[in-house]
């Protein structure tokens, strides 16, 4: 069997819901050995959040949990108990990476700070994922994903038509901001892992979800910080438009793209005007152009527009819902959706990864059941006897 690129990297995850688990999932799906620590009894809150098939709550059938925890092993451990803390120490002593999302200061108060955890294991990389990071005046502020998204540098009003009424900005779809933090944390984590090449020393990676989101709006944040009174973006030609069967998006910016767009439209008479030959002219006449494009688009389906435009060389795309993406020829020709079989949730197609590494495959496996790997990890890896395990279970440590 082919091996994933991160085979040999050993990771302990003490995370819940989306951000830290997504970070660990990205590593696990490429072959890292990820042990996920869950609270005894309940497990990761994502197990209870759902959605569930037929809306029947079941901790082994939460779509959110199943997606975010592929390829991991699950053990139960109450890391806040004294014995639990000792076991965590033991686990981390053998790991390359610890990914955690405890409130800032909590691990420190349990004697599990980076300084203490890395003393017996100087190569340890520890990634801490929190709303505002480990320092600063907002460090301990309470924040759900919605609150955080709205302090992350919202700049998504481009391409939306004029609003009839003033409404607050809308958050990114699904758990977008949390995924952002998870991806950013995964990049920082691998950076720190690579940083061990020279001295063998690990590092602590402090991830603020707010800063992860800001990093994705960095162009706009910097633009406004340097120029508090900037000229506003001019409306461009194209953007979001309506076809016969829904929305699509087209961006014919550069001259060659505009010319290809006109070919896709059948070289209309109006496009031969002098002002239509330059980008500046088209921007100045955007209001005149728009009705022509709107009328043309209204007679075609999104897919007709998509293929017609793209064949000529115009960047365009239909706005697709989840079902339409799932049925998309291109995604399926690439094997983007992969069927994974879970003993309780059954067989389902999961999005795999956006990258295909030519020699080392994506090695996703279905998510673990709660505590599925207690015996393997505590028994085989750490050497606890069945009696000791039973005792730990009785004390509700595991």
């Amino acid at each position: 069997m082919k091996r994933g690129a991160l085979e040999g990297l050993s990771v302990v995850e003490l995370g819940s819901m989306v951000a830290a688990p997504y970070c660990a999932k990205l590593l696990a799906d490429l072959g890292a050995n990820v042990i996920k620590i869950e609270a005894p009894g309940a497990g990761d809150p994502a197990r209870h959040r759902g959605p569930f098939a037929n809306d029947q709550p079941n901790p082994e059938r939460s779509a959110l949990f199943l997606y975010l925890n592929t390829s991991k092993r699950s053990i139960t451990l109450d890391a806040t108990s004294e014995t639990g803390g000792r076991i965590l120490h033991q686990l981390v002593a053998e790991a390359d990476v610890l990914i955690e999302d405890c409130p800032p200061g909590q691990l420190e108060s349990l004697g599990l700070s980076y300084a203490e955890l890395s003393r017996p294991n100087p190569g340890l990389v520890m990634t801490s994922v929190t709303p505002f990071g480990q320092t600063g005046p907002n460090r301990d502020r309470r924040a759900h994903p919605l609150n955080l998204y709205h302090v992350g540098g919202y700049a998504s009003s481009f391409y939306t038509p004029d609003k009839a009424e003033v409404r607050p900005p809308a958050a990114g779809g699904g758990y977008l901001g949390e995924y952002d933090a998870g991806l950013t944390a995964a990049v920082g984590t691998l950076g720190a892992v690579m940083g061990r090449r020279g001295t063998g020393r690990g590092r602590h990676v402090d991830i603020s979800k707010q800063e992860a989101m800001m990093g994705l709006e960095r162009v706009e944040i910097a633009r406004l910080a340097n120029d508090p009174d900037p000229t506003s973006w001019r409306p461009s030609v194209g953007g979001l438009l309506e076809a016969k069967d829904g929305y699509f998006l087209v961006t014919p910016l550069e001259n060659h793209q505009w010319q290809s767009f006109m070919r896709a439209m059948g070289d209309p008479e109006w496009s031969r005007a002098e002002w239509c030959q330059s980008e500046v002219g088209r921007m100045e006449h955007a209001e005149e152009i728009r009705p022509h494009v709107v009328a043309w688009a209204a007679q075609l389906t999104r897919d007709e527009i998509y293929h017609r435009c793209q064949t000529e060389g115009t960047p365009a795309g239909p706005v697709r819902n989840v079902a339409e993406v799932r049925a998309w020829d291109q995604a399926n020709a690439r094997g983007f959706f992969v069927e994974l079989d879970h003993p309780e949730a059954g067989k389902h197609a999961y999005p795999s990864a956006p990258y295909r590494l030519s020699r080392t495959p994506w090695v996703g496996r279905a998510a673990p059941r709660l505590g599925e790997h207690n015996e393997a990890v505590y028994g085989e890896q750490l050497g606890y006897s069945p009696q000791e395990l039973a005792q730990l279970a009785a004390q509700e440590v595991i």
Binding site: A5, L6, G8, P51, F52, L64, L66, Y67, Y114, Q134, T135, G136, H144, L146, N147, L148, H150, S156, T160, P168, A170, A171, L176, D180, T184, V187, G188, L190, G191, G195, G198, V205, I207, E217, R218, V219, I221, A222, L224, A225, R234, Y247, L249, T251, L253, V280, M283, Q310, G317, V319, N321, V322, R326, Q330, A331, P354, Y355, R356, L357, R359
Partner: protein, 406 residues
């Protein structure tokens, strides 16, 4: 200061030959540069990186290729080598540089570099353990591999645009930040391949689809569709379970505070702060009840928020234990006290535009830094040709005269 482990740049000694342009690819190599890789950006005066000349939103906007706000932000700490790739001599320089590189990154349409004789198969002959990442709109295989796009195209094709926005308003295609996510995923994949190369001694080619990056960042929605046989829809700021959950109008124009109540403790805290008798209504006693009656609940919240500033409202609610924060605009973020104390913003001296504010790395990680301003076009020619490739001054001048370095 707590122990932070090693201080040296994590990717010290890694060299990246960077053919990327626009936003997505450059953000990927920006992250690698912040981690300490030496990034050499290959560009040409005959076809400028479009972020040097334009914004997708505003069109042509800069006084010159060295003055672009966008370019100068996305290319901090890189070197610039100008090459006219239509010339065989230029392609020969690429081959020499790749033989001394660890990574090649490119985001031209599939097949372009192959036709120039500097595709992956050719480059691996020169440098067997080279890692090459090719990033494209919808991937380098499949029936639509030649289709192109910008950030909002990827958002539309991936499903995320359809999920973003209000249910009674058009979808929101998110714009430039989508490209930056693509760049982050690229940096991750490159480092995974570097990790593997250190063990196997072999390189590989990475085919990255920008659209798939976004689909993966809403993967739970695909599984919801699979398992629950329903299509998730956009819902503004609402949550499937929580209520209240939204942005509430405050004193002043377009001023909002976000409030989200997820637990009974938070609900009790909210009630105590608002002290509105209507909240005692039995209908609000359970999370399900609050979700059903959310519109009535929202109206009660606004009665309280609308006479307060976002900061006052958030402060009062936070003290009681409610998750509430002012809704910050992109412009106000740089003034935020927490953001300033965390050192998110840095000042960089640029030879043409002077001192500029930029954002630092998105992680607090020892050895990760902004290593300098974005390069002027061709700023690194002498360094690359002479110091890395060992060409003599007359040789470089000859290349210059022949238009190879245009």
């Amino acid at each position: 200061m707590p122990e932070h482990g090693s201080q040296e740049a994590p990717l010290a000694g890694i060299r990246v030959t960077d053919f990327t342009w626009a936003w997505a690819g450059p953000h990927g190599t920006l992250l690698l540069a912040m981690l300490g890789a030496e990034v050499i950006k290959i560009e040409s005066r005959t076809r400028l990186d479009h972020s040097r000349v334009r914004s997708i939103m505003a069109g042509a906007m800069n006084s010159g290729p060295d003055a672009s706000t966008i370019f100068n932000d996305l290319n901090l700490g890189k070197r610039s080598l100008t090459l006219n790739l239509r010339r065989e001599e230029a392609r020969e320089i690429v081959r020499s540089l790749v033989s001394k590189s660890d990574v090649v990154v490119q985001n031209m349409r599939p097949g372009v570099l192959d036709r120039l004789g500097i595709g992956y198969e050719e480059l691996r002959r020169i440098k067997p353990d080279i890692i090459m990442l090719s990033s494209s709109a919808v991937g380098a295989s499949g029936p639509e591999k030649f289709y192109g796009g910008y950030a909002p195209t990827f958002a539309s094709l991936s499903g995320i645009a359809d999920l973003t926005g209000y249910p009674d308003q058009p979808p929101i295609p998110l714009s430039g930040s989508v490209d930056l996510r693509v760049g982050s995923a690229s940096a991750f994949a490159v480092m995974a391949a570097l990790y593997e190369r250190d063990r196997s001694g072999e390189g590989q080619h990475i085919d990255l689809s920008s659209t798939e990056v976004m689909s993966c960042m809403m993967g739970d929605a695909f599984l919801e569709y699979e398992m629950c046989e329903r299509i998730p829809e956009r819902r503004g700021n609402e949550d499937e379970l929580m209520a209240p959950h939204g942005c509430y109008h405050c004193a002043g124009e377009e001023q909002w505070v976000s409030i989200a109540v997820g637990s009974e403790a938070e609900w009790t805290a909210l009630r105590s702060v608002l002290a509105d008798p209507e909240l005692a209504d039995e209908a609000f006693a359970t999370p399900q009840g609050r979700k059903c009656e959310r519109e009535r609940l929202d109206a009660i919240l606004v009665r309280w928020t609308c006479s307060r500033t976002p900061a006052e409202a958030a402060e009062t609610l936070q003290r009681a234990g409610v998750a509430a924060l002012p809704v910050l605009t992109t412009a106000s973020l740089s003034q935020d006290e927490h953001v300033q104390q965390r050192g998110v913003l840095r000042r960089v001296q640029h030879p043409v535009v002077g001192e500029r504010i930029v954002l630092g790395p998105p992680w607090k990680l020892a050895g990760a830094e902004v290593r300098g301003p974005a390069p002027l076009i061709g700023e690194g020619n002498d360094y690359v040709l002479s110091e890395i490739l060992g060409l003599s001054r007359p040789e470089i001048e000859q290349l210059q005269r022949d238009g190879v370095l245009d």
